[in-house]
């Protein structure tokens, strides 16, 4: 059943298009994939000439909520997950995205955009697993 009251197709589509523009900008001018887990993960490799652009991209990402606040209040942030589970989820996301070479941005946005078979498989897997996980947490196994 679709929750029409929470459905926000216009801001979702506009926000998505802005994400696409940021991705296009980085690709066309810097030749880089805007995959967040890859960009952040590469920071720990400390390779010469490879650190600066990664750090700059992450800095931009971190500045975004502050730029937003300059003009308007941030939209609602609702987190119902306990701190213990957030730590567990973070650890799994960190390990999983590095082993799987990408996350929602690298495989989802960039990979689907360039029709990469690896990314199509990865996106289907993490979407399906995300749905199964939410189902099990909210409704139990039986």
């Amino acid at each position: 059943m679709i929750d029409w009251q929470s459905f926000t197709p216009i801001s979702a589509l506009a926000g998505g298009a802005i994400i696409g523009l940021a991705t296009a900008f980085l690709l066309i001018f810097a030749g880089r994939i805007a995959g967040i887990s890859g960009i952040v993960g590469g920071l720990f490799r400390l390779q010469k000439g490879d650190f600066g652009w990664r750090a700059a991209f992450v800095a931009g990402l971190l500045l975004a909520p502050w730029l937003w606040r300059w003009f308007d209040e941030l939209p609602a942030i609702q987190v119902e997950t306990s701190h213990g589970l957030l730590a567990l989820a973070g650890l799994i996301v960190g390990l999983g995205t590095r082993y799987g070479s990408g996350c929602t941005s690298g495989h989802g946005v960039c990979g689907l955009s360039r029709l990469s078979p690896r990314s199509i498989v990865a996106t289907l897997l993490f979407m399906t697993m995300g749905m199964i996980t939410v189902y099990v947490i909210r409704h139990g196994l039986y």
């Binding site: 059943m1 459905f7 197709p9 801001s11 979702a12 926000g15 998505g16 802005i18 696409g20 296009a24 980085l26 066309i28 001018f29 810097a30 030749g31 994939i33 805007a34 887990s37 600066g52 652009w53 700059a56 991209f57 992450v58 800095a59 931009g60 990402l61 500045l63 909520p65 942030i77 987190v79 997950t81 730590a87 989820a89 973070g90 996301v93 390990l95 999983g96 590095r98 082993y99 799987g100 070479s101 996350c103 929602t104 941005s105 946005v109 689907l112 955009s113 990469s116 078979p117 690896r118 498989v121 990865a122 697993m129 995300g130 749905m131 199964i132 996980t133 939410v134 947490i137 409704h139």
Partner: protein, 142 residues
């Protein structure tokens, strides 16, 4: 210096897109993943918007074969569906389903000062560092 500036701008715009789209609200992400109850399909529109723009960007980039600044493109070349991609993406999906947070929104939320997101991001970065350590260990053995 130019590439850093490009990356900073891209990260900033990317973050604004995440906030506008609703991706930076974990409850909305979980409502998207919860397909069996009150389903909020908004985030499918985020993906559609991002890929809709990204598709043409990647086509343009591949056609040109280099960036507009005449530097090389750094695109993934692997086409192998290995167990690392599959298991990593499965794990990422589970973590995403627990918290409703993936790497990009995690960083944006943490930067906005949300304590739960800060815990998530610290754990995520730890997971990435652990991955690098395990990889180093694996390389040494081979």
């Amino acid at each position: 210096m130019l590439i850093q500036l490009i990356a900073l701008l891209s990260g900033l715009v990317f973050g604004i897109g995440l906030i506008l789209s609703g991706m930076a609200n974990p409850a909305k992400v979980l409502a998207f993943l919860d397909v069996t109850e009150q389903w909020d399909p908004s985030l499918a529109f985020v993906m559609a918007g991002a890929v809709g723009v990204g598709f043409f960007a990647f086509r343009l980039a591949k056609k040109r074969g280099q960036t507009l600044l005449a530097s090389p493109l750094h695109l993934p070349t692997s086409n192998i569906l290995d167990h690392r991609l599959i298991l990593g993406s499965i794990a990422f999906g589970v973590g995403w389903g627990i918290a409703g947070i993936c790497p990009g929104p995690g960083l944006v939320l943490a930067a906005s000062g949300h304590s739960g997101a800060i815990i998530f991001v610290v754990a995520m970065l730890s997971g990435m560092v652990i991955f690098d350590q395990l990889e180093k260990h694996r390389m040494r053995r081979h």
